[in-house]
Symmetry: none
Subunit: 206 residues, 4 copies
DNA sequence: AATGAATGAGTGTTCATTCAT
DNA sequence: AATGAATGAACACTCATTCAT
């Protein structure tokens, strides 16, 4: 969390190098917030990670709450698009769920709800509402897919929205070192998690 | 923010040290940390909630990291004892899991892993290790119970430790207002979550 | 906050320089500075009020101190002209003083001296001197009028410059809500103030 | 305004040296606010002038608005007491007014109303009300004295509250260098101001 | 056993100012 | 003629921590 002075330029050169400071700030902030939560990420850190000053952050975002909100909307949009592409794509439902899980577990990230609670005192009604709405979109997307699958006999009947939340919640196991470590990759964990919720834990004969 | 040195001698404090205030601080801190996370809880808040001054907190706990650590150990011990009592008690496995879920969902609390990550920069190696160990105890307890149940045919075979983590992770749905609200209580959510993981989502005929 | 260097060349700018924007900036700045004082008025505010960007302000005025100075000279010139027109115009001295007071009290404005003190650290010697000189012009105008009136027996003898300052100072009562409110307009207050200083407060018989 | 590092201790030693940090902060803040206004006085300056750190200021006053409010109440109380002692004391009304003027002009200070307007955005309703009330107390004190004097024939009839405001407003001439300078002291200016308002400016014969 | 006083290091935020275009 | 982008310096405010009593 101590923003190290980075001289930059180890990556791709020139041409695509500058996708606009604002976009870079948004990307960086998204990553940092998701990785560390709201409070631990200072604007100073975001700025220095992008190689600009704190004041520049304020040039683009009027305050921390706004940056946070826009950063979250940014990742939620990406998450929605990715999830939609996969879940409505080809393959069996189980395979598609596994792919969703794999992608979701690719990076570590804090619990979304915990992060929102942390930020809640800084955000205004509308900001909270907007973020929550975009998050709910993802759950509603899954809900629809689940409901349809249930109708078509691809899944057992249950509350599809609850299932969606439970499904997403299970992916936080990716953060536990006892689970995802040298012997088991995040990808494997994703598959096993889906297998678990797929077959359930009831004894075979019951 | 420069911890590293925990001058406090380990082990139980002398009986002469007023257990009243100290226990109260521990209880209060436990509750506040679980409710709001590490950063958002200031020692001032803990002190005021207990009706003492900030300096008094330092009288009992050499710094915030120590208070946090001991507070977590406090709740983890309670959680372990409660879980053990229930999970090793009477009733079918499913019933016992439901009771564990019900108790765990009784209060809102932040995601444990997220909170630990928040606090990680302040805690030293040993503190992290100790807390993680006590948390792991709970997972190992569940792991043992699951393994035994699998052996005895009460459960389908799967990785019992992964299952334990997934099970606990699912309980964070308690925090979502779309799930636990006026129409569905935390208790009901607990039951449905257990039902979900119990029967799985695979179609009945497969 | 490091002024000292006013690169702007003195004298009237070339006619080609769009007088529109510059004049508008000057007018806006004058109004805002008089209404709120030096510190509270940011260049951003001035710019936005004029519908241009902050950088545009710098295009016309090399820094805040210069804008402030020129804005003040702008209003002082207007004030001088207006005062001169009235005070040297027709009517009895008392009537003319009342008209001067009425016009001066038309708008609320901060105390001139207080504002100058606020800005003093930013202005250089010359800027302060110039503004003060133009302010002094107004006092000298009144001084001359008073002196002449005393000579001609239209007024009691006293220090005409002190009187001028006292006269202007009294007009700040326009800002007090206890004085100028629903029951007494600024115009009425102006008349009563003049009446007060006109007849004095000594008992009638003394 | 650049708070110089002051090693202190050039004054009276020990015993009476420490009248309590809080009182010292209050006195210092009062002086600085009255001398420079609200915005120009930073808490850092107040702190360093007292030889403590900014954080110490916050130990005693929860924010700048509170410090400002209490500082003003502090000076207003002193001003009231002093004014009351003089104005209700012995001597002719004119002599007493002169003494009040002399004391009021002893130190330079910004226009009260201008300062309040500067601070207004930071203060809450109650703080503004309280300060205004204490300021009004002084005007009411003068108003009562004036009203009584009018009843007893010691003064000409006029609006006593307006007179009070006008009287106080006139004292700001103390800040003008053209008025109070080498040839005329503040004390002399005080006397001449009172003389002016006492006799008025109307020609003797009218 | 407990506290009042004080502080250093941050954090969010504002603003005058610069410069390339 | 005008601006978008970027910055440095200051400021209000918070908080964990220390220490003498």
């Amino acid at each position: 969390m101590k923003p190290e002075k980075s001289k930059r330029k180890p990556g791709r050169p020139k041409a695509s190098e500058s996708p606009g400071t604002m976009t870079q700030l948004l990307r960086t902030a998204s990553f940092l917030f998701m990785e560390h939560g709201y409070e631990k990420v200072s604007l100073e850190t975001v700025a220095q990670t992008c190689g600009v000053t704190k004041a520049s952050v304020y040039y683009y975002f009027s305050n921390k709450a706004v940056l946070f909100t826009e950063a979250l909307l940014f990742v939620l949009k990406m998450a929605y698009d990715q999830t939609a592409a996969v879940i409505e794509g080809p393959g069996t439902l189980k395979e598609r769920l596994q792919e969703v899980a794999r992608r979701h577990m690719r990076n570590q990230h804090v619990d979304f709800e915990t992060m929102m609670r942390e930020a809640a005192t800084d955000l205004n009604e509308e900001q909270i509402r907007t973020v929550r709405e975009r998050e709910a979109d993802i759950h509603r997307l899954l809900e629809r897919v689940f409901a349809k699958a249930m109708d078509e006999g691809e899944m057992k009947r249950s509350d599809p929205l609850l299932l969606s939340h439970a499904f997403v919640a299970m992916m936080t196991v990716r953060n536990r070192n006892e689970i995802v470590n040298d012997v088991r990759t995040a990808g494997q964990a994703a598959e096993e998690i889906v297998q678990l919720i797929w077959v359930g834990i009831a004894p075979p004969h019951s």
